[in-house]
Every structure is written in C-alpha cells, then in structure tokens.
C-alpha cells in the first residue's frame, strides 16, 4: 500500500484516502474544508479521489509494492477482473427467467388440445374435399371434443354430418340439420344451395322425378343467373330421363351440361351432380353421391 501526505495538514494517509483537489493532494477533512471555503465553487474534475495502484479498487486487497493492472482506470486484481469480465446474472434474474419459461411451456401444454383440434379439423376438411363426408364429420366431432369452447368445430361437424347424409341419399334426415344452420349463417350461398339440393332430392324420394323436375324448373325460373340452379335442373332432367326413358329430358339435361358454366361445377359439385348427371344420362341409373364415389374410386379420379 502506498501513502501520501496531505498538503494542507501535513499528515500521512493511505493514498486511496486522499483526493486531488484544486491541484493539491488533500485528506478527506481538508478536501471538504477546501470545497466549503471555495469562493467560485468547483467543477467536475476539480476533485478526484486518488487511487493506489497497489490496492485493488474493487475488493480492497493490498498487494504491497506490486502495481496492479488497470481496468477502466481502476487498479484491479486478477480475481476481480475475472469477476467483472464474467459478472454472473443475479439469482433472481435466473429464477424469474426460468419461471417465465416454465409458464410459457405450461401454457403451451395446457392449450395443446387446440392444436390437436386444429389438426383434426384440417384432416376433416381434407376428407371433406376428398368426398369422405362421414370421415370429415367424425374428425370435426373429435376436434369439437378437444376444444368444446370453439363453437365452429361443432358447427362444422354438424354441417359435415348433414352433407354426409345427403351423400348417402338421406335428404330428409339432412334437411332439418341444414335448416338449423340458417340461423347461424343466413346468407351463406353454399348452405342455401345444399338446402335446395336436399329439398330437391327429398321431393324426388317422396313424389318422384316429375315433381322434382317441376321444383327445379321453378327454382331456375326464379334465379336464372344462379349457376347452381342450372346444374340442379340438369340433374332433375337426368333423373326424369332415368325414370321415363324419354329423350326430351336427356336432350334438356345434355344441353345444360354442354352450355354449363364452370361456375356451376365449382360451386355446386360438392355432391358430384355433374358426373352423376353424365352417368345417369349414359346408363339411366340414378346413383347417390356415396354410391357414385364408391363405384368410381373418387379420390384417384378427383386427383386427376
């Protein structure tokens, strides 16, 4: 440790306890007196505490006559330098961070079922677009079971069930389900088309193809701009042709198909009316959607 003599009182102090004040080396009491007696005040840098190059500024360890390396102008021993260069984070920071990470993991685990529900829903949608309406309804029911708070899954499951009933040629069973959705989605065009399709098929099953055709014609007259009404009319003509064998119905259906708008196909072919109409005109056999897909391997054909 090095010592310095106060230029005011003449006493010896450890260098660390002295100050360079107004160009003189002073002890603490003399430095304070100088500050208090100063007429002009003082500026930053006028008073600086002296350091002892043999005493560590951080831990106060005395290294005798050996001068220490300076770190940021402060004499620093090796252990202190190592500590300052690798200063650990406080424990409360580490613990808080660990708790937050654990909470994030807990939140993900707790809500993982929503991911499962979404995946099931995606599988259901894929099955729906592949024409596997029963599988689609099942997947959506599984999704709804995993996330009962999300009403959409339950809604979709019921919707897919209704479509699967229509595909199985059970329009009377599908109709009440579809009508129920009207309150949820009153202006949804796909729903309106499905309801009309179910009514049309129900009409066929109850009163035969003649009544069904009249219904389709009436609907087409009311909405001539609706491409789906055109497709339904073609299907009704084909059904009438299947029942009677009269060429006029064949010709009417074929004409509609020939002039048919692509729009009709894309919007209304959920139940494969287009290919079923073509098949019916060729064979006079009226197939339900599920019968049609079963017979003609729908997935591979659809992918083509």
């Amino acid at each position: 440790m090095r010592h310095a003599v106060c230029e005011s009182c003449g006493q010896e102090y450890p260098s660390k306890e002295t100050f360079a004040a107004f160009g003189r080396t002073l002890c603490k009491p003399c430095a304070e007196a100088a500050v208090n007696g100063s007429q002009q005040g003082f500026n930053a840098g006028d008073i600086v505490r002296n350091t002892d190059p043999t005493v560590c500024e951080w831990c106060g360890a005395d290294f005798g006559d050996s001068e220490l390396n300076r770190l940021g102008n402060a004499p620093t021993c090796e252990p202190c330098e190592h500590f300052l260069r690798h200063r650990p984070f406080p424990r409360w920071i580490k613990v808080s961070f660990a708790v937050l990470v654990a909470l994030a993991a807990l939140s993900l685990l707790k809500n993982y079922r929503f991911l499962e529900a979404r995946m099931k829903s995606k599988e259901g949608q894929a099955a729906f677009y592949d024409g596997d309406f029963a599988i689609a309804a099942k997947r959506l029911r599984e999704a709804a079971a995993r996330a009962p708070e999300s009403p959409n899954y339950g809604f979709q499951a019921e919707f897919y069930k209704a479509v699967s009933l229509m595909a199985a040629d059970k329009p009377q069973d599908a109709l009440p389900l579809l009508v129920n959705f009207q309150s949820e989605a009153p202006n949804e065009p796909t729903l309106q088309r499905l309801i009309f399709s179910a009514q049309l098929d129900a009409e066929f099953q109850e009163y035969g193809s003649e009544s069904m055709l009249k219904m389709a014609e009436l609907h087409f007259d009311e909405s001539p701009a609706d491409a789906s009404a055109e497709t339904a009319l073609a299907w009704a003509n084909a059904c009438r042709y299947a029942e009677t064998g009269q060429d006029q119905y064949h010709a009417a259906a074929a004409k509609i198909l020939q002039n048919g708008r692509d729009e009709a196909r894309s919007q209304h072919d959920l139940l494969a009316y287009g290919p079923r109409t073509v098949y019916c005109l060729k064979t006079r056999e009226r197939l339900s959607q599920s019968q049609f897909w079963r017979r003609f391997s729908p997935k591979s054909e659809r992918k083509d």
Binding site: G72, R87, I93, L115, M119, E149
Partner: protein
C-alpha cells in the same frame, strides 16, 4: 394518441427494462467486456443501466449496443407465442396467456437501444468506418432507423413494434404452418 410519462411506461412494462439491461450485460459477458455496475430496474431516468469498460473493437461495441434489439425481439416472440397459440387456435384467452402476452409485449417494447446506446455506437461507428470496417459502414442505416424508432416512441411505435412481432408475426406463422 396520448402522452404517458416515460417512467410510468417503464414501470408498467418493467420486464422489458430488465431484459433490455440483461441483454446489454449478456453481450458484455460474451465479448469479455468488464461490467462495473448494473441496475436492471429502478424508478428514475434512466430506468436501468449497465456501466462497462470501453469495448476494444467495433464488433463488441455493436453487439453490446444493439443486443437488446435481438434479445428483446426474440424473447417477445417466445413469450407471446403461447398467447397467440391460444388466441389463434382456441379463439380464446386465459389469465396465463394474458400474463405471458403482457410479459412478451413489454419485452418487445424495450427492444430498441436507447438514444444513449446508439449515440455511443454512432461515435464508434464513425471511427471504425474511417478504417473501412464493413460492419461499421452497414451499421449507419440501422442506427438511423433506431433513432427514428426512438423518436416515434412518442406515438407508441415501440408498443406497436412489440405487438407486431409478438402477436401479428406468430399468428401469421401459425396461419401458414397449420
């Protein structure tokens, strides 16, 4: 838009202040720069600080100054993700995800280095750029962008940044992936 004093914002979003200072300290540790003093949070201006020795090279100066932008942004996404997950997939929110959302957005809000941080970096970038340091040259636009972001914090840009990277990005990511 309405004005809220900085210390109120800092208090309400204190996790972000803590992470901001921790990010500075982390890069000091990684670059072997001695840290003399650190305050992770206090009521006052600045609400936190790290006092360290002058970095020996520009890369260290760059990483220490810009560190919070990387660390805070990353942790903002990390902590907001469970919240976005629940919100996006479950269509709902609960207390835990709400809490994590607050933590995440608070952290994201403090991602931008302070004016003091970028001021120091600017001075060092000028010296390093005169020696044709490529990082220093490309850091100028980033520094300017950060300064603009800091200016825009009066119109809550920092909050919108936190919400954008913490909420919008994870939701878009989930939308694309699932």
């Amino acid at each position: 838009m309405f004005f809220i004093p900085g210390y109120v914002v800092a208090t309400l979003t204190f996790p972000g202040v803590i992470v901001h200072e921790a990010a500075h300290m982390l890069f000091c540790k990684l670059r072997g720069v001695a840290v003399f003093d650190v305050c992770f949070f206090r009521s006052g201006n600045p609400s936190g600080y790290v006092v360290h020795e002058p970095p020996k090279d520009f890369l260290s100066a760059f990483l220490i100054s810009i560190g919070p932008l990387f660390v805070n942004s990353l942790l903002c996404v990390f902590f907001c993700f469970p919240s976005s997950f629940t919100e996006k997939l479950g269509g709902r929110s609960d207390f835990l995800s709400g809490f994590l959302f607050w933590v995440g957005v608070s952290i994201g809000m403090h991602a931008f280095p302070s004016d003091l941080d970028v001021g120091n970096l600017w001075d060092q970038a000028k010296v390093a750029a005169s020696r044709f340091n490529p990082l220093a040259i490309i850091s100028f636009p980033l520094i300017v962008a950060i300064c603009i972001a800091n200016l825009l914090s009066v119109v809550w840009f920092d909050y919108f940044y936190g919400a954008f990277i913490g909420v919008y990005l994870p939701q878009q990511l989930l939308e694309r992936l699932i």
